[in-house]
């Protein structure tokens, strides 16, 4: 700050900056801000837009050069092909009197069913084990607690590519190769630490006096859990489950290395299709949208918990 003798008006003047306190500066800032917003929005949103419009293009429109930005003849052909091929793969030659002949080799519905099975299984395992552990880690002091928490946090950093080879060996040793159980267990192991961190945050904030009140109201530990903790935790529990579910739904590396094509989940299934010859992009886009829907629904629910879950509660709003 300037010396005391400075005239306040003069000091005020010296604190003014061209960018903030002049009219051209004001417009320049406006332009910069809206320009940046526009540019970044386009970068983030255009691919999503492109996926949607591609899904609604006909197979012939897909092949046009240059590509059309807005579908000329919007069509559900992509979605129809996805469903038909699934039905065909399911052994239906006709469905409700409707002849099915599909040249497309992707059984999206089976992929989705497989993914659901794996994701729900992993989600439940992570939820149950993770919540129990989180409760104890939050409420009790004991030796090695910090080490365990750090270990769990570190294990969140590792899954995937760093251990795909040894994981493959382990699963072979356990005779679980090409089984969904293997994925359920691995995804459960990958997401349980997530759940621990999320639920530990919940339990840390859980007022002790409520539990005391329950004890005074003659609850056994089980009743306290059943009637007091569980109902209060329900939102966090759902969020935890969705986290675990999403990870399992999206995971590619283990699904690709530990399953054969017959048991593929969505990510490797889609990958195989995308990398095949003559990829029909409208079908890919339609299938992509279908497999993304559960994810988007989940996102809407867990948005509030997102940061907490991702960073083990390190960053809170």
């Amino acid at each position: 700050m300037a010396a005391d003798t400075t005239d306040p008006a003069e000091e005020f003047g010296s604190n003014r900056s061209w960018l903030y306190d002049t009219t051209p500066g004001f417009y320049l800032r406006k332009v910069l801000i809206w320009g940046t917003t526009l540019g970044l929005s386009t970068f983030i949103l255009f691919p999503l837009y492109w996926m949607v419009v591609t899904a609604f293009k006909t197979t012939s429109e897909i092949q046009q050069i240059p590509p059309t930005v807005v579908p000329e003849t919007p069509s559900l052909e992509g979605f129809r092909l996805v469903v038909e091929s699934s039905l065909a793969a399911g052994g239906f030659d006709s469905f409700l009197g409707w002849d099915i002949s599909s040249a497309i080799d992707i059984d999206v519905l089976l992929l989705i069913a497989n993914s659901l099975k794996v994701a729900v299984g992993a989600g439940l395992i992570a939820l149950v084990f993770g919540t129990i552990a989180a409760y104890v880690l939050s409420q009790q002091e004991f030796r090695g607690k910090n080490a365990i928490m750090s270990l769990l946090l570190a294990s969140l950093m590792f899954p995937g590519t760093a251990i795909m080879v040894p994981e493959w060996e382990l699963i072979s040793t356990l005779n679980l190769f090409n089984s969904h159980l293997a994925l359920i267990l691995i995804y459960g192991a990958m997401t349980a630490p997530f759940v621990v961190w999320l639920m530990k945050g919940f339990f840390d904030d859980f007022p002790d006096s409520i539990l005391d009140a329950a004890r005074m109201d003659q609850c056994t530990p089980y009743e306290s859990f059943r009637y007091v903790i569980a109902p209060m935790a329900v939102n966090s529990l759902i969020a935890s489950f969705i986290f675990a579910f999403l990870l399992a739904w999206n995971e590619l590396v283990f699904a690709l290395t530990l399953l054969n094509q017959s048991k593929f989940t969505v990510p490797p299934g889609l990958l195989t299709f995308v990398q095949g010859f003559n990829t029909q992009w409208n079908v890919v886009a339609a299938a992509s949208i279908l497999v993304s829907l559960p994810v988007l629904a989940g996102l809407a629910y867990i948005q509030r918990y997102f940061v907490q879950g991702l960073t083990g509660g390190a960053i809170k709003g």
Binding site: A162, P267, V295, A314
Partner: protein
């Protein structure tokens, strides 16, 4: 009333028989077992395998070969290109994601309406199944009908469509763009969350002290966010270095190894060339890097917890 019915429930009695010091660990055991068996044990196993010449098709004939695999890690003709790719990928990808994400998060917080809806939309690239996101970019970068080629032609950057994904010079970049698209929203959300966490009164106090908007940003916002930014930075590094799907879907690491990063090379070594021992040695390399990042992540994490 008498106290004859001081009954413990049956599970309380069962728990009572477990020694005090052990009881508290029981509920943590399932998680530790899962993590131990499916994450920690494989890591240990990989350490051993990396000293053998294990082959995927003849796993039983593996023999101990000492540090031969690690020697190969140095001499392998492709490794230098892959490491360089990984370095470029991680540094360029992380910096771009951080800059874009930070600006986006700041805009969401300061300038844009409907913050919670907008941030949910922005987050879509991050939560979309990775294969889906990668597929979109593969399609957009396509050499024959790709919209990006068309865009570049329209802008006059190139004269004719270029097969970017199939070119040894260019193939590294499209996956990086896709990855930035996927990670920037995450960083934006972290930024947004930590901006929200800053007490408004701090800005008012700074204004009373005569701080200009820039000074407020420099002396209030940034210092308040410093640990969160470091956490975000480490997360970006970790996600980038362990990424596999974006590259694999778009280019499979090719042509040659022109777009391969370390995870892709591990996958190829193990599941294309079946050299499990060599792949394990590569895994150790990746593992060591992740260990360093994780260590710092936990350090920063502990600092933050200490602060609040």
């Amino acid at each position: 009333m008498s106290y004859a019915d001081q009954a413990l429930s049956s599970y309380e009695r069962a728990l009572g028989r477990v020694p005090d010091g052990v009881r508290v660990y029981l509920p943590i055991l399932p998680v530790l077992a899962l993590v131990g068996v499916f994450i920690l044990y494989p890591i240990a196993q990989a350490i051993w395998t990396s000293f053998t010449d294990k082959h995927l098709l003849r796993p039983d004939e593996a023999e101990f070969v000492g540090v031969e695999n690690y020697g190969e890690v140095w001499t392998n003709p492709q490794i230098h290109e892959v490491l360089w790719n990984t370095f470029v990928w991680v540094s360029v990808g992380s910096i771009a994601a951080i800059v874009i994400g930070f600006v986006l998060g700041w805009l969401l917080h300061e300038k844009l309406p409907y913050t919670s809806v907008a941030s949910a939309i922005v987050l879509v690239p991050w939560v979309l199944p990775r294969v889906v996101g990668a597929s979109i970019w593969k399609f957009m970068f396509g050499g024959s009908q790709g919209i990006i080629n068309e865009l570049l032609v329209q802008l006059g950057v190139i004269d004719d469509y270029v097969v970017m994904l199939g070119s040894t010079e260019l193939s590294l970049w499209p996956p990086i763009v896709g990855m930035v698209w996927r990670l920037a929203p995450l960083f934006a959300l972290l930024t947004l969350t930590s901006l929200k966490g800053i007490d408004r009164q701090l800005y008012e106090a700074a204004r009373m002290d005569g701080a200009t908007p820039w000074e407020q940003f420099r002396y209030v916002t940034l210092p308040m966010m410093r640990y969160n930014l470091v956490i975000g930075f480490l997360l970006m590094l970790i996600y980038n270095i362990r990424n596999f799907s974006m590259v694999w879907v778009m280019t499979r690491g090719g042509p040659g190894v022109s777009s391969s990063t370390l995870p892709v090379m591990i996958y190829r070594a193990a599941f294309v060339d079946f050299q499990v021992g060599f792949a394990s040695a590569l895994s150790m390399l990746l593992f060591a890097v992740l260990l360093v990042f994780s260590y710092y992540y936990i350090q920063v994490y502990d600092k933050i917890r200490g602060e609040f």
